[in-house]
């Protein structure tokens, strides 16, 4: 049986007249088990491989290998399918002429799927919206599979459909399955793929070298199979008269959940968090409450995790108004750390966007701020990736110069890694 625990990090003391309460709620799951084997229902996996014309030679060879390795990781009994994506979406396995849309994994199916994958050829355009829609249709044929996950691999931009078509497709599948996105090479658009992964509660990453694809797919699929809790919901209550400013996942990566809000009742909001394995996720909750006189206490938020409509863990966020500056001016280290990390993600993305638009002054300022934040919060991965894009004169003040020649892949690596956070050293 999976077990959850929640821990709250905050300074509950706020000064007279103060209204904003910040807390980091750290939720940990243990004993999650394996996908499709718990009480939550069966599991289903779809591998979506870009087979457009640009996936020539080394890329299609690596993609075939990666998909085959992923198939090896899918647990027996899991419903699965493979989609070949060009300007249209085609079911590669089960074969297009098969009577069923998805099959359960077993040794025979695994061998047949690998055979189908080995026949994938690169030819055509790129219309990712159509791939996602087909995935949604295939998942719909197995309603008993409540835990649904896909891996989407591409190497290019979404050129074969209009942006509105793409957007409509994303919206039509949001909430129906989770999707991790991977881009290979330097010709895909990080923002475009991040848009998909954010909507579908997944991750986005760069595979710079096609040879690394198989290992990445293997680990992605292992992780997906290790998520024995099919679906959990974060629920946040805040008192009457208050305003929930934001709910943001801050670890292992920064994801603003506010746009996913579903109102449960006027005081309670719910946010889908997808499937859980044995892991910890940290959430930054910010609430604006009506100010109270010094000496008063209020519960500012109750943060709960729900699995199958039962509360499995909760944390309480409090506000206590005090006239003692020694108490109220201290910022909780976890709140400070993740506030910095969230800003780091924003300034990296804004800095790279400014650089791409030719606005060197803004790019220098933003990336300089990023360097300072990365140093401050001890995010060494971000620092080393920033080093490949800027020359650092002084990390403390964020004084940097843009490098004259930068490898596009280094910029993309910085961009995709921007939302990955380092954990704070908790007390």
């Amino acid at each position: 049986m999976p077990s959850f625990s929640a821990e709250v990090f905050q300074n509950e003391f706020i000064s007279e007249g103060a209204t904003d309460v910040h807390a980091i709620v750290s939720v940990t799951c243990a004993g999650a088990g394996e996908a499709g084997r718990g009480e939550g229902g069966e599991a289903a996996e779809i591998i979506i491989v870009d087979t457009s014309g640009s996936m020539l030679d080394a890329k299609i060879i690596a993609a075939r290998q990666a998909a085959a390795v992923a198939v090896d990781q899918i647990l027996d009994g899991t419903w699965f399918a493979v989609i070949s994506g060009t300007h249209v979406a085609t079911r590669a396995f089960p074969y297009p002429n098969a009577r069923v849309s998805m099959v359960q994994m077993e040794p025979g199916a695994r061998a047949a799927a690998k055979d189908a994958i080995s026949r994938l050829e690169a030819d055509g355009g790129t219309a990712m919206g159509s791939w996602l829609k087909l995935a949604g249709q295939l998942f719909d044929t197995v309603p008993q599979a409540t835990q649904r996950h896909a891996i989407l691999l591409t190497d290019g931009q979404n050129q074969s459909e209009q942006p509105y078509q793409f957007q409509a497709a994303i919206e039509s599948v949001t909430g129906r399955f989770q999707c991790d996105c991977r881009g290979v090479g330097a010709d895909w658009d990080v923002a475009e793929l991040r848009h998909v992964s954010t909507a579908l509660l997944g991750t986005v990453d760069l595979i710079a070298n096609p040879a690394a694809m198989a290992a990445d797919f293997e680990s992605l699929m292992q992780k997906a199979m290790g998520r024995g809790v099919a679906e959990a919901t974060l629920r946040v209550w805040a008192p009457q008269g208050s305003h929930l400013l934001w709910v943001r996942q801050v670890s292992p990566s920064v994801e603003d959940l506010t746009s996913r809000k579903v109102e449960v009742n006027p005081l309670t909001s719910a946010f889908p968090t997808g499937a859980w394995g044995d892991e910890s996720r940290d959430y930054h909750v910010a609430v604006r409450v009506p100010p109270q006189p010094v000496g008063q206490e209020r519960l500012a938020a109750r943060v709960q995790l729900l699995v199958q409509d039962s509360v499995v863990s909760q944390g309480l966020v409090k506000a206590r108004w005090s006239g003692d500056d020694a108490l109220t001016t201290r910022i909780d280290p976890a709140v400070a750390h993740y506030t910095g990390q969230a800003e780091l993600a924003v300034v990296i993305q804004e800095g790279l966007a400014a650089k791409a638009a030719g606005d060197e002054a803004t790019a220098t300022t933003k990336l300089g701020r990023a360097v300072a934040l990365a140093a401050e919060t001890g995010n060494d991965e971000a620092t080393s990736k920033l080093r490949k894009v800027v020359d650092i004169d002084d990390p403390a003040t964020g004084t940097v110069r843009l490098k004259r020649s930068v490898d596009k892949l280094d910029e993309m690596a910085l961009d995709t890694a921007s939302t990955k956070t380092t954990r704070v050293n908790k007390r």
Binding site: A238, P239, Q240, G241, G295, R298, L299
Partner: protein
Amino acid sequence: MNENPPSDVHPAPGPTAGQRIVCPNCGEDAEPGDLFCEGCGQDLPDGITPVPADSSKRPGGLSHPAAALPTTPVDLESLSPVCRTCRGTTFQDGYCENCGSPAVKIRDHWEERPAAWVAAVSDRGVRHHRNEDGMAVSARPEPGSRAILVVCDGVSSSFDSDIASLGAARAAREVLDRPRPDVASVAGRISAWNERLALAGDEANKQAVEAGRHPSGRPGERQDSPPSCTFAAAVVDNGVIVVGWVGDSRIYWIPDFGEPEQMSRDDSWATEQILAGVPREEAENGPRAHAITRWLGPDSPDTVPTRDSRVPDRPGWLLVCSDGLWNYCSPASDLATLVRGLANEAQGDPSHLASRLIDWANAQGGMDNITVALARIAPIPPQRGNGITSDETTTPTQATSSGLNGVLDSAPTGPGNPHA
């Protein structure tokens, strides 16, 4: 005729058409405007209280009102089922499900409402973490017949003062609730109540002394000085008001029109200053303004309540309160303006009025515990009064007797209280 609201939630005085009223003596049905009971001949005072249908026929229920004087049956130390902030009634994890306020002890905000014309509310206030005010009230159902209002304010620099104040208030009520000697004359009743108030003060003091003998040892309890509290008690007895006090909790008489007055005179450093000619404003805001010169408790040199009395000649409010209220409106004229205004909003209901006064004091900052006890006085007209001669009621104001003067003249002042 059977759609009667329960008496305890109805805005008190004056029956209106459609309400069922009964004789307070025998329970016989009566009509609004009846001057006497058709069943037993008892005079029916104005403003008789409507009662719920199911209690009117209870045998003996109303014929022995003195035996049914209410006390507070709940444990004041247990958590209140009602949110003190928003009146919400659902709690989770010790916080209100609606507004997030912590659940608090009943003691932090409680009310006693022994009759429709008498109510008292005690509240922790905003700044203090505990309610150290104590109170105890009782009343007979007939408006103006008999009421006891006691407020004791625990001195916060002493330990267990919350235990002392509640014990003292309840002990005093118990003494004052005992049947009084059957005397008809106003002077005789005043004299009897003067004696009874002295006894009540003594019993109240024993409770404070007892609290000092057995410290609760609760965590965080201050140990500077033994439990201490003030004492302010008022008795209403068919047209007569008799009061007694020790310390700076106050008793005001606020007629609906005309001059209001503070009946008690604080045993405090500030009052001594005012008597010495210092302006009230200045004295009550000085550094030692809240130092009291007399109190109840083990280290008190003098615990005999100072006493006074009145025979009011017009309707009004008898108000007993702790300094959590009067700190914000000390002069009787200011308090009267406030009470008269809020009484209109409360439609004359003492319970609503007490709650509004508490809310008002909290809105001013709620720097201290706040306790307000109220009795609505509508004097019984002379021709129908109980033992009040026309002479006495038409010469209102101070009903002093020689014996009473002696008490007033010797109003003792102890040494400055070290408890601020």
